[in-house]
Amino acid sequence: MDAETPLLEIEDLCLSYYTRAGEIPAVIDFSLSLKAGESVGLVGESGCGKSTVAMGIMRYMGNNGDIVGGSIRFKGRDMASLSTKELRQLRGSEIAMVYQEPMAALNPSLKIETQLIEVPMCHEGISASEARKRAIEILEDVRLPDAEMMLKKYPHQLSGGQQQRVVIAMALLSSPALLLLDEPTTALDVTVEAGIVELIADLSKKYGTALLYISHNLGLILEVCDRVCVMYSGEVIEEGSIKEVFDKPRHPYTHGLFDCIPLPSADKNARPLVPIRGQLPLPHERPKGCNFGPRCDHFEAGLCDAKNIPLEPIDAGASGHQGRCVRWRDVRWGEEKPEATVPAAAASDERGEEVLHVENMQKYYPVHDRSIGAFISRKGVRYVKANETLTFSARRQETVAIVGESGCGKSTFAKVLMGLETATDGKIRFNGHEIGNQSVHDRTPSQLGSLQMVFQNPNDTLNPSISVGGHIARVIRKFGVESDPDKVQERVYKLLDLVKLPRDFATRRPRQLSGGQKQRVGIARAFAGNPAMVVADEPVSALDVSVQAAVTELLMDIQREHGTTLLFISHDLSVVRYLADRIIVMYLGQIMESGTTDEIFSPPYHPYTEALLSAIPIADPHVTKRHIVLEGALPSVLDPPKGCPFNTRCPKKLGDICEREMPPVQKPTEGHGIACHIPLEELRKAEAVIKAAS
């Protein structure tokens, strides 16, 4: 193999799955070439075939998949020609893989040691002790503390971030030439994600490993890769260097994708999200011609749907920018951005009356420990302090966002608010009534109706055995909005109109709906009782980006129209930046910082906010960002650190005081609060984390 030969060369690869419905092509005519040391990103929404490509490279298609066409050459050798044994020797030593869910990828009943040392032992035939030495080295490389200890553990004893580091270590053990990363950070928290992303970038440099980085997140690709390949419905629709593609997307889908992504550098008024209409076609229902045709604003009948569209070079130059669009020359890119559908900036300054007021709200869950030790030390009952002294308020028509990573207590708060749990202490006043101690059964229908919720998981939010109309109708009746069947029906239709769903959806079953449509029904259901406030718990995080934008926009439109207060719970600061008026940052059950969106996104920052902001992947090459990587894992809620909960990971930790005392809430302005021991002046000195490059 000479230096010119690409490490991996894929030509016209076609991958199919066989199901009851027949052959389903998952990947069509996929071509890619990857040089040694290069890193290529493969992006696309779920179901576009990007993971299948990785499996195809490994020639691992499971029971029902097959490689039906094209060739894959690795180091010049056609992989199809390899014997089972040769293939086996290639896997794990030459080509390694990192998976989406580290917990699932590790064998639960084997120690980390066993799982690591078997790789070099098998491929290089070295002894166990030598392999063990190698394993320790590599664990240190992936920055896992106390590698010796780590080896003796079982996967479940590690945190998610640690597990993923182990998986990466496992992949790197035999110094592969090519590393396939299949959404390696999707299952992790943002701050942990940032650490892993950085690690991968560093390691690939150190080992000279070529990367194929698969992700749905354009921001991540931007941070890690040299080149990017955008896939849509089984096909590559655009390919090129990061700079070319991000600056000059020349396929309507890529273009649309960028318009869908909220950037933390912009708010809703500056850059409204433009959703892509329609949804991804099912693999066996792909349209003729351009797969994106039915969703494309530039679609031209007779041209776009005539024949298969080939991938053609865009810039004849060396950048290798290619696109799969027949009309790329005709479209005036960047000019005909549709008008923002947003009505003139909402009067966010005119603050309405206070709808919700939370004061020193506390929620503890007792955990019964029945071990002898606990019995002797009389610690039989411990408490999970899910929420500790929450204080904030929300006004009419305002959007308040609660941001935090998993386990920060944001969902618990939602539960208390909704009356599914009652507060341990403190007050929650809603519309003038104290509801903190009122469980859902003690609330009146009108109270219930005026406080409704949109849920996270679209597949879970609707009862599969009740029709769409049934869901909405039930709420209408229950809250006494209407009772006459005809009127109920009429209202159901109106609500479907409101969430932009066809009326005949009323008789459909949730199973027949896509994720975005289900979320729309969820929104219609929440608004059926004319609520004064809607709590939205990560309503779009499980949706694809293009759909996410549409649902986000919809939610905001309806909120504005109805003058509803929106409590938006999210872990995604970009989305929050886009839609929230005020933001509350939570960590381990406590509020770290709260303030208006602008206040949160600019100094002074709470160190945690600062880290969060830095961790957001931003799909905009014109934005620069300070890198702050947090050390350590999220502490357990059962045993939170004393003093400031963030002290174990805080890069700006002062010292003892942080471990001893709860930090005071400092107020740089009225309404902006930072719970930190570091003096305000000190905090003010911080640079802005995100800066738009000039």
């Binding site: 599914l420 919720m453 009862n463 049934g470 008789t507």
Partner: protein, 295 residues
């Protein structure tokens, strides 16, 4: 509280359509189809027993006639007769009624009780869960057959008593399954949605949770039906079965097995009948599971 208006009228028709469709799904599974075929065969036999059966099931016509031969008075017996002269074929045909009446009845009763207990334990949790689970554990830690024998020996053997005994002994197992499903389903967002609407526990258990647990429950019910058939057979075999003269397959085997050497037909045919029906339910369960795993 009934919620007829909850679901638009047109969905009632859809329900039937859906049922047909899900049956159509079964076509995808060959084993499932064979199972359904076997069961359907016996159901048809049971329904048309009076038309199909050549003789009354209990009529004592001519003892010890071999299969495919004629009795002294010229009657033809396809499967022969037993030791007191009853036509085996007719008894198997009529016996299908017995088994297809009592087995589903017992299973249904067990399900009603088991589901009620499981819903209560899984949804209400707390003390109800503790008590119900404990009761279930106690019953389950008892060999079932012993339980049947003791119950039947105490309250006497009759169809209803067998149903009671089977209900008593199987309900805890069903409760466990339901409880497990409920523990999973109660965390679904749509349950939370119902809770935030202030729905009663009844509504949540019966409308929001139960219908969505039906998949695994239907599979389990099929397996359990097979097992109940075995149980009824075993009871018949031990002489504690359905009271005669109603034909009961297990009882037929019991009555005739000591003659199996000289007159295998008396025993073998009921053995085939009972095994085929159980096989039908087992295959159907397998098919349904296969399909449910696919989707």
């Amino acid at each position: 509280m009934t919620d007829r208006s909850l679901i638009p009228a047109s969905t009632y028709g859809n329900a039937l359509l859906r049922a047909l469709k899900s049956f159509g799904l079964l076509r995808e599974s060959i084993v499932g189809m064979i199972g359904a075929g076997l069961i359907l065969f016996w159901i048809i036999v049971a329904i048309f027993a009076p038309l199909i059966a050549p003789y009354p099931p209990n009529a004592t016509i001519a003892p010890f006639v071999m299969p495919w031969s004629t009795g002294p008075d010229g009657e033809f017996f396809l499967l022969g007769t037993d030791m007191i002269g009853r036509d085996i074929l007719s008894r198997i045909i009529w016996g299908s009624r017995t088994v297809l009446l009592y087995a589903p009845l017992a299973t249904l009763a067990a399900y009603v009780v088991g589901i009620a207990m499981g819903l209560a334990a899984g949804y209400l949790r707390g003390r109800a869960d503790d008590i119900l689970s404990r009761i279930g554990d106690i019953i389950l830690s008892f060999p079932v057959l012993v339980l049947y024998i003791l119950i039947i020996a105490t309250i006497g053997s009759s169809g209803i008593n067998i149903v009671i005994a089977i209900t008593f002994a199987s309900a805890p197992g069903i409760m466990r399954i339901v409880r497990g499903l409920v523990l999973d389903l109660r965390n679904r967002d749509y349950v939370a949605a119902a809770q935030t609407r202030g729905e009663s526990s009844w509504h949540i258990m019966l409308v929001e949770i139960l219908p969505n647990a039906r998949g695994p429950l239907i599979v389990d019910a099929c397996l359990r039906l097979g097992y109940v058939i075995i149980t009824i057979g075993v009871l018949g075999f031990l002489g504690l079965g359905l009271p005669p003269p109603d034909p009961d397959w297990g009882g037929m085997i019991n009555e005739t097995r000591s003659m199996a050497l000289a007159f295998p037909h008396m025993t073998v045919f009921p053995c085939i009948a009972i095994s085929s029906l159980i096989l039908g339910f087992n295959l159907l369960a397998d098919g349904l599971r296969e399909i449910s795993l696919r989707d």
